[in-house]
Symmetry: C2
Subunit: 194 residues, 2 copies
Amino acid sequence: MFQKLFNKMTPGFVEAEKGDTAGSPSATLAARMLTAPSALMQLSLDEAKVVVEYMRPQIIAEGTMFIREGEAKDIGFMVLVLDGEVTVENIVVSRVSPITLTVLGPGSMHGELGLIDGQPRSASCTASTKLRCAILTREAMEELLKDHPKIGAKLMMAIAMRIGDRLRDNTEKLKKYVQLTKTMQQEIDRLMPG
Amino acid sequence: MFQKLFNKMTPGFVEAEKGDTAGSPSATLAARMLTAPSALMQLSLDEAKVVVEYMRPQIIAEGTMFIREGEAKDIGFMVLVLDGEVTVENIVVSRVSPITLTVLGPGSMHGELGLIDGQPRSASCTASTKLRCAILTREAMEELLKDHPKIGAKLMMAIAMRIGDRLRDNTEKLKKYVQLTKTMQQEIDRLMPG
């Protein structure tokens, strides 16, 4: 199943955990992580295990940028981190180095936005350590929605919630920046020769 | 159906369009608007009409703040605007007046984030004109997901996409603010008596 659904390998990914199946420890871990977000309509562990059957285990080497900001092709997948850390970065024009938005560990999802809307990637994700992951491709997601619409709907809700979490975080940051620029403007006005 | 699903009236709302049913012009308009976002798995017009059967028509008077930032109760509904304009605002600490984030017209959704995650409202929404709307309550959404899981999954995806749009917008704004504060800091450094 995994093999069938993930023919096109994303560069930098190395295949591993060949023996990993729906009943393996990794699969159970992935299922448990999918039930973690406190969505209003939560996936049960059994339902999450069905989702995991549509996912593919993957090891990502340390230092690999597996999602690249602005990338418009190869966006049809989402990564659920089982073990390891991911650095999420944004490129800001006229800055030499990108700004680190956050570092996320086990249970974090990456690429779920592009999976849903097919738009270019909004941030870059790099493996800061070796990662053990579960990958959901768009094809697999569509198959899941066809085979198990009820579970698919709950997964969609969980994904919407994760995107919503990011939106809420971002909104708070934006408010702080509005405040900061106001303070800085006052400072500039004060320093300006009258 | 509408009556059954929306017993608790939100203050400021006045009931109207008593004759409005799934076959009415408003219902068709609502259905057409639900199909508008270019989601990867789009609701067909027939599917959107099923969704609309779970919604409730509503007139909101000009000047009514129908979603209030920080509100933690009464968040179990989402508003789809059929006609009119909505001003979306954020309260920023130590600012006297809130900052207007955007003004949105027909086809816009409001409150979909709280509908999904049950968290306090992240912004305030005020009717800048008289609004004709379709409202989806959490109870109705759960009923829809139970009765028509496949359509429910597509609706969830459409909602996730809208939240994603807002996230992408916000990310762009955030990048501009990072850039702006950097420029302002340089200006302050230049003005500071050395």
